[in-house]
């Protein structure tokens, strides 16, 4: 089943590369996206409800943590791949996109999704690295797909910065491998997560500390942690919007997933909260570092990109704080942010297409021009800002209560202040775009279309989750958090 999860996107990509009619490409893309998503959900379901599923496999595994990430890729990936159809059609009508290149775009999109699945289900930490490097290569092609000057510039910076960054992560993996050899691991097994994690307490602590630093620099670049985030706003703002949604909603999470894995190893190996403290520091730094850029932003998609930097900070902070509250908050926040931010990017894409500009001060009267999309966009902004009743409010609450619990007033204060600042920034820009008057040169039009359900669905899930969390889902989260802490989650 897990192999199918990689095979179907690859086959879809293969078919899309064949010279077909555009309509067949679109059908293949939609079918492939739906099938992959469905298969992913089946896989998660069988993990949680059939005993012993996905464990003790050779190369690909599912466990509690990775199933959450598979869920995110499934939901966001499917939504984005279907939304792309409408998006590209509008671009073709505007002559910004050549019809015959759509096949290639869909192919790259599905390749991108496949590499992300590989990242989260690979058992071997080295294979995980290779998969992440491939996500960079494929998504850089998608970022620069239009071939415009700005897009090329963004794609180039992205591929160079991330390739260099991730080279440091490889150094960390080499050190981990060396540490694993120190406990007498055989070659095939020594980077296998299933083999390594139960034996992590005998890994050399000082080597693992060093390895963790390299890993954090490498994957932190990819996740967009603050001083290393420079590629992120460029790539997110220049990519076609469905790709931005995937980058922000899923790709950042894949990097965070790798950081969590190594954090777990380091926690057990060192028996101290060394790695937690580094994560807490960088988490806070990302939050504080991002908000000035949000407050003075002129470009709608860069605004969303910097907000992603802030949310990655919150997630990393939650992981670093640990404990039931910290982990629950961080994992919930991962899912909530992925849903909220991808919706926002998809909405922003439609808005930008209609207005032909990304500059916030020129996007006036979006509420009148695109009533449905703009309303979803505003709801998404409220959600991402952390307003109740959306789920993000509660996940941020979890993280910050853990912060107050562990580090007292100082950390909580910084957290709440930066969240509040970001909220004011987002709402100010959102309000200006939504409640202003429409310049008369634009026609008013927006009939309800099937595309709208794709952006309404995630917002709906966010509201639902904020109001009422069903028992089975709570049980799943408890199980995942317990499985993370079981290996020796240190209470700070």
């Amino acid at each position: 089943m897990l192999y199918l999860l990689l095979a179907i996107p690859l086959i879809t990509a293969g078919i899309c590369l064949c010279p077909l009619k555009v309509r067949y490409w679109e059908i293949t893309n939609i079918l492939g996206g739906l099938l992959t998503g469905l298969l992913a959900l089946i896989n998660i379901g069988s993990y949680f409800y059939c005993e012993g599923y996905g464990i003790n496999q050779q190369h690909l595994v599912v466990d509690g943590l990775s199933s959450l990430f598979i869920f995110i890729i499934a939901v966001v990936g499917t939504i984005c791949s279907i939304y792309t159809v409408g998006y590209l059609r509008r671009d073709i009508v505007r002559k910004e996109f050549k019809e015959k290149r759509t096949g290639k775009f869909y192919a790259l999109l599905h390749l991108f999704i496949a590499t992300m699945y590989l990242t989260v289900i690979a058992d071997n930490l080295g294979v995980m690295w290779v998969a992440i490097e491939f996500t960079t290569i494929v998504s850089a092609l998608l970022v620069g797909f239009s071939g415009h000057r700005d897009a090329l510039e963004a794609a180039w910076k992205y591929i160079v910065i991330c390739t260099i960054g991730i080279a440091f992560a490889m150094l960390g993996i080499i050190l981990t491998y060396y540490a694993a050899q120190g406990i007498g691991a055989e070659e095939q097994l020594s980077l296998s997560w299933q083999f390594l994690y139960p034996r992590a307490d005998s890994l050399s602590p000082s080597l693992m500390k060093l390895a963790f630093i390299f890993i954090l620099v490498g994957y932190g670049t990819k996740a967009g942690l603050f001083p290393l985030h420079t590629w992120l706003p460029d790539a997110h703002s220049q990519a076609p919007s469905p790709v931005s949604a995937l980058l922000s909603g899923v790709l950042l999470n894949c990097a965070i997933y790798s950081i969590i894995r190594f954090h777990q190893l380091t926690l057990v190996a060192t028996g101290s909260n060394f790695s937690s403290q580094i994560l807490i520091f960088f988490g806070l730094l990302s939050m504080v570092g991002a908000f000035p850029f949000i407050l003075v932003q002129k470009d709608i998609k860069r605004l969303l990109a910097y907000s992603s930097v802030e949310h990655v900070g919150i997630i990393i902070l939650g992981i670093g704080l640990g404990g039931t509250l910290g982990y629950t908050g961080a994992l919930l926040h991962l899912i909530n942010h992925a849903l909220g931010k991808s919706t926002l990017f998809l909405c922003a894409g439609t808005i930008v297409q209609e207005y032909q500009t990304k500059l916030i001060y020129r996007l006036r009267g979006i509420g009148q021009m695109l009533p449905i999309t703009a309303t979803v966009f505003l709801a998404g902004l409220l959600a991402i800002g952390g307003a109740p009743p959306f789920g993000l409010f509660f996940s941020e609450m979890n993280v910050v209560s853990r912060g107050f619990q562990v580090y007292g007033f100082g950390l909580g204060f910084i957290f709440l202040m930066s969240v509040a600042m970001v909220f004011t920034g987002l709402i100010y820009f959102g309000g200006r775009m939504y409640f202003s008057d429409l310049p008369s040169r634009y026609r008013q039009q927006e009939p309800l279309a099937w595309n709208h359900f794709l952006i309404i669905l995630p917002v709906f899930i966010l509201i639902l989750q904020g109001i009422y969390m069903p028992q089975p889902i709570q049980a799943v989260f408890t199980r995942v958090v317990i499985s993370i802490m079981a290996g020796g989650g240190i209470n700070v």
């Binding site: 071997n124 080295g126 090329l152 794609a155 050190l175 020594s190 980077l191 080597l207 706003p233």
Partner: protein, 212 residues
């Protein structure tokens, strides 16, 4: 013998830093990769004819000594990029920086920071210096073509450090990395084409429209 090869690896890396002619840079890079593959062969035969390491050395020989330099040379020829015109750091600064990076690695990084590593320290020092050289090279040059050369140099350093301290990563990962770098350089090459087409230059300073 391995130590000599290790120092040759380091010296070719150091020599790339001040050289301005892109063609010579690529040749030096190929030479460095050649030393890397020789080190792999020597290590492989030292460890009782270890087939895996020798295979890795062979792959290095094919991919990094012939294929990648060939691609880069063709690219440089087609784009008429024969010389780095305005590097951020002149030759003297480059060579001084390179030597200080090497001294830092040999005197501090390997003996102090990496003191837990007890095998292959000398090769490791050469490897880590090369990674730093690659980093420095990427920042000190302005041509996008040179940035690719820097990235490949870093990968060379990574490979040597894997060889030095662990005797090579598991085969599947090594293959993955090779495939990765091959595809990566091809993609970067394609992007360089487009960049020179759109911008009429390979100068990274001209790619400055996105900020804030």
């Amino acid at each position: 013998m391995i130590t000599i090869m290790g120092s040759m690896f380091l010296i070719t890396g150091l020599l790339i830093l001040p050289v301005r002619m892109i063609k010579n840079n690529i040749t030096l890079l190929a030479l460095q990769s050649l030393f890397l593959s020789l080190i792999a062969f020597l290590l492989g035969s030292k460890l009782g004819f270890n087939g895996q390491i020798i295979f890795i050395g062979f792959l290095t020989l094919v991919v990094k000594v012939f294929v990648l330099p060939f691609i880069l040379l063709r690219l440089a020829k087609q784009l008429k990029a024969d010389k780095e015109l305005h590097p951020n750091a002149g030759p003297v600064v480059s060579i001084v920086a390179g030597i200080s990076l090497a001294v830092l690695t040999y005197d501090y990084v390997v003996p102090v920071m990496l003191q837990d590593i007890t095998s292959g320290e000398e090769l490791l020092a050469a490897a880590i210096s090369t990674i730093l050289f690659g980093c420095f090279y990427v920042v000190s040059r302005r041509s996008v073509l040179n940035q690719v050369i820097g990235v490949i140099m870093m990968e060379n350093g990574l490979f040597l450090s894997a060889l030095a301290i662990t005797g090579g990563m598991p085969l599947i990962i090594e293959l993955g990395i090779f495939f990765d770098i091959l595809v990566g350089v091809l993609v970067m090459g394609a992007m360089i084409y487009k960049i020179s087409d759109r911008f009429q230059t390979l100068d990274i300073k001209k790619l400055n429209r996105l900020r804030g």
